[in-house]
Amino acid sequence: MAFYVVQFLTGLASAASLFLVASGLSIIFGVTRIVNFAHGAFYMLGAYVAFTLTARFSGALGFWGGILAAALIVAAVGVLVEMLLLRRIYHVPELFQLLATFGLTLMVEDLVVLGWGPNDLVGPRAAGLKGAIDFFGQQIPSYDLFLIVLGPLVLGLLWLVFQRTRWGVLVRAATQDRDMVAALGVNQKWLFTSVFALGVFLAALAGALQIPRDAVTHEMDLRVIVDVFVVVVIGGLGSITGAFVAAVLVSELNAFGILIFPKISIILVFLVMAAVLIVRPWGLLGRAEAPVRRTPGLTVNPWRPLTSRERIAVAIAFLLAASLPFYAGNYALAVGAEIAIFVIFAASLHFLMSTGGLASFGHAAYFGLGAYGTAFAVKLAGLPMAAALVAGPLFGLLGAVVFGFFAVQLSGVYFAMLTLAFAQIVWSVAFQWVGLTGGDNGILGVWPERWAASAPHFFWLSLAVAVLAVAGLRIATFSPFGFALRATRDSPLRAEAIGINGKRIQWSAFLIAGTVAGIGGALFAYLKGSVFPDVLGIPLSVDALVMVLLGGVETVSGAIVGAIVYKALSIWLVSQTEWSKLVLGAFIVLIVVAFPKGIVGTLDSLWHRRPSSLKDAMLASKIETAE
């Protein structure tokens, strides 16, 4: 019995830091409408800075002062980030904001390694709370008890600030209508900056407070941000109390889940999250969001099928690509096949994002499931290559059936966070279920059969599949199904009012996208001859997002160009620099700030630019009435 009580208390102590980070994320989202992916990075920075400060200044004052100073220093960094970066992207679509703050996270990861080295660091014990309390023979660290008290204390303080101070009233008002707050004479800029500073302070404080409990590593950012996404999805984004309740729930599930499913305790969290979402799609204490901001009018030119001249251009491009084996070597062909595979992957995400308006942040899950499915088919069932290439994508489809069902219940940033959390769950399972997947060692020896083994043959196979996949998705985009999907994206209200079951349409699109991604994954397994958990990881999901963004999210098939350019660039980049995350992160931030239409989107709008005063007048009256 005592053991369970202690386990429960350990869970509560872990909940404190999770709550601090999640409440910070919620507060920032409430006012700025930005889901700050970099929140995990600030948490990590808080831990690193606290490590340095507490190592330099000893004693109780040194320790506690160091923790507080670390949180304040990181909050000041947050202020800089807000003023230099976020102020430029408050009006861009939320997907871009998520990506930009993810780019920031990548940069921080490399900067941390630059500053503190790649090894894990172990911080000092908490001054004054080094001991433990005996509870019926079980030891409870005093520091855990401190954390258990801290959580509710912070919750109470935040409540007082938001209910009883003018600043709190202004923040709550801005949460609802920030322009109106400005129109009443409040300086929005500083309101936003102060809110961001508070949110970052909470995250950094949580990170700093972790150092007596955990090692400081340069991977703690992604770990915590995924947990925090799960917490805010369960608790309801924007609700601080919800964040607290969900943090406790998730921490306890982790604490006890270990006892029930020692290998894959994360499954328990997933089941609870699924249950909550069925009953309350906006989280335990969350509220239904107003319809999500549409990707705003970067362009208003309706999509159209290719003209005959464009068809000829596409055919020529295809013939050029197909003739590659006649003049390129094996390495170039392997790169070519990899690019073709990523074209399939990116095109599948692009279909979901641009036609469906559903920005998945965990699309690698279906790519990876396709790869693992193929590996299982070969290694466990001994299927021939042709059959394995079909079996693999079926795994992707299966994953999409399950996860897609829950994901399409939500939209916008919720959808993004949920898909990310699902992908991370699949990754954890692949990583932890060593018996089946080989864990970190992966599954080796998935080689193509003789008919596809030579570099030219495999290249042609990949190219042919890519062309079929892209053409198929394009036909679907212009089919009644594609229009129903776009209709649901453009106006869910109107779509429902003309008989369209939007959720079913979106789910179907999710299945299509998941299956096509799985096809890419299946080819990828054969290309590499092996499968590792990386194929399910967040970085791969983000690669796909960047490809779509780079190509142009508002175009029909921009992802193809995006995939080719990005993949070629990143293969080259990895060979050139050790700090590829830093460069990639900066690249992502740059695209979002300076180049949001992407390559194809920019070309398209140059092409369509017509200096028509009639159009101006139409636009004018539209804007006027839309206000």
Partner: protein, 262 residues
């Protein structure tokens, strides 16, 4: 058939957090009739409307369309029974062309939503153009819907609402945000179509000039209760309606004031 009303509503009720938004509202509407629902802001008009097409589930009461109980059905199911709807703030698909907007509604009516092969730009093109001609938008078929002026969007919405050959049209503040002349034109068009195809129309409106001009009958809602019902003339004369809603008649056209010559 004539004995059965197109729409019949009995004892419709809804409350939010203890506040009664709609209390026991009952009325009927027959084919070809144009019925206006008016009342002060917050009287429950929108709630009432949303319960009729399934957007909101009522706490109590019954809604029947041509005798069939539609209470608790989803908007898309109500639509399949032949109920078209337009919104207070237009809801259209801004990234499509005007014609594609109508084609989507037509493909849904034909139950072709899961067709992955057909090319939409060619789908039911003539029928789409016929509907656009009907509302006077024939010349705009290839225009981007996102570029349309507000009044044209309202007409496009009407064309979309007509795509499933409805028997009943629900129009929530059909002329809100339009210039006075456009208001009159849109309602004249609606009334003409409704009479020709014997469609029943229920609409809410604050513009009394529109209401008194086009409604055959008027329902007045206040604090969730139906307080008056009758012809425009009767409603105009009703003292309670004047006190609660119409006021002294300072802010609408003189010819619609009480006592003015018809």
């Amino acid at each position: 058939m004539s004995s059965q009303p197109l729409l019949s509503v009995e004892g419709l009720s809804k409350s939010y957090g203890g506040v009664h938004a709609v209390r026991g509202v009952s009325f009927a509407l027959s084919s070809g009739e144009i019925l206006a629902l008016i009342g002060p802001n917050g009287a429950g008009k929108s709630t009432c409307f949303n319960m009729l097409n399934g957007q909101t589930a009522p706490d109590g009461g019954r809604v029947r369309v041509l005798g069939q109980d539609t209470t608790g059905l989803k908007p898309r199911e109500v639509w399949r029974l032949g109920v078209g709807r337009t919104f207070q703030i237009t809801a259209t698909f801004p990234t499509m062309t005007v014609r594609e907007n109508v084609q989507v509604a037509l493909s849904s009516h034909d139950r072709k939503l899961f067709n992955l092969i057909a090319a939409m730009p060619r789908y039911a093109r003539q029928e789409a153009e016929r509907l656009l001609d009907l509302v006077g938008m024939g010349g705009f078929a290839m225009r981007a819907c996102g570029e349309l002026a507000y009044g044209d969007l309202k007409r496009l919405e009407l064309a979309m609402a007509l795509a499933n050959r409805p028997k009943l049209l629900l129009m929530d503040e059909p002329t809100a945000g339009m210039a006075p002349r456009e208001r009159v034109e849109l309602m004249r068009l609606t009334a003409q179509i409704a009479r020709e195809k014997s469609i029943g129309v229920l609409f809410t409106e604050h513009d009394m000039d529109v209401v008194f001009e086009h409604a055959d009958r008027i329902l007045v809602l206040n604090r969730g209760n139906l307080i008056a019902e009758g012809s425009p003339e009767e409603v105009r004369r009703n003292g309670e309606v004047r006190a609660i809603y119409l006021g002294e008649g300072l802010v609408y056209d003189a010819r619609h004031r009480e006592g003015a010559a018809p």
